[in-house]
């Protein structure tokens, strides 16, 4: 079954703390995992992505850790800022398949308090 699960549903951290958002999946054929950031009233925007050949991907304050054996990922946001307050979606697909359809989790709503 193609499912992507995210936890927690919502998360509140203080400015400067590290926020950790979790994601897991079931389909072992998934090999590409983008994370999207969505602000109210806007569409999702690609934040950072990782393929299954890597176990870590870093881009500034955002880092994905990937555990292929356990089918789990996590997004770490270090030095969280109030401007990071948004909903974060983990997505997955089989990279190289036709159609390029993404399977999305239901998101983590992050609130960063100043």
């Amino acid at each position: 079954q193609q499912q992507v699960r995210q936890s927690p549903q919502s998360l509140t951290v203080w400015e400067g703390e590290t926020a950790i958002l979790n994601c897991s999946y079931e389909d072992s054929t998934f090999n590409y995992f983008p994370w999207y950031q969505q602000f109210p009233g806007e569409g999702p925007a690609l934040l950072i992505s990782i393929s299954s050949v890597s176990d870590k991907k870093e881009d500034g304050r955002f880092t994905i850790f990937f555990n292929k054996r356990e089918k789990k990922l996590s997004l770490h946001i270090t030095d969280s800022q109030p401007g990071d307050s948004a909903t974060y979606f983990c997505a997955a697909r089989f990279y190289g398949g036709s159609g390029n359809k993404l399977i999305f989790g239901t998101g983590t709503l992050l609130s960063v308090k100043p």
């Binding site: 983008p34 999207y36 009233g41 806007e42 569409g43 999702p44 925007a45 690609l46 992505s49 909903t87 979606f89 990279y95 190289g96 398949g97 036709s98 159609g99 390029n100 359809k101 993404l102 399977i103 999305f104 239901t106 998101g107």
Partner: protein, 113 residues
């Protein structure tokens, strides 16, 4: 400042009415996707195109939705007979290739009353 332009931003329709929304993909992106995002943040893939050709679509899209991406015109998604359960944010996205990352528009929020 999305490069994928969706219109209208908001759409209110009565049950049974047609609802039509449009999307201009990012320049140079021949692959277009439509997703439905409901109030529970569940994303449902509806249909995708490469140029004017349908690549994939779900059953619901085949039966009650119609979509097209004509050359030199905006892509469109139309619900033939709106139902209350169709109330959602409809997102259009485009990409350079089938396996490229894609860019989403800001969406059309449909309310069926």
């Amino acid at each position: 400042n999305s490069k994928v332009i969706q219109t209208p931003r908001y759409l209110v329709k009565g049950q049974g009415q047609k609802a039509k929304m449009r999307c201009i993909p990012e320049k140079g992106h021949p692959v277009v996707f439509w997703y439905q995002q409901n109030k529970n943040n569940e994303f449902k893939f509806l249909i995708n195109f490469q140029n004017q050709e349908v690549l994939q679509q779900i059953d619901m899209t085949e039966k009650r939705f119609s979509a097209e991406c004509p050359s030199n015109s905006p892509c469109s998604l139309e619900i033939q007979s709106s139902e209350a359960g169709d109330s959602a944010l409809y997102l259009c996205a485009s990409s350079f290739r089938q396996n490229s990352d894609y860019t989403f528009g800001s969406g059309t929020r449909l309310l069926v009353i």
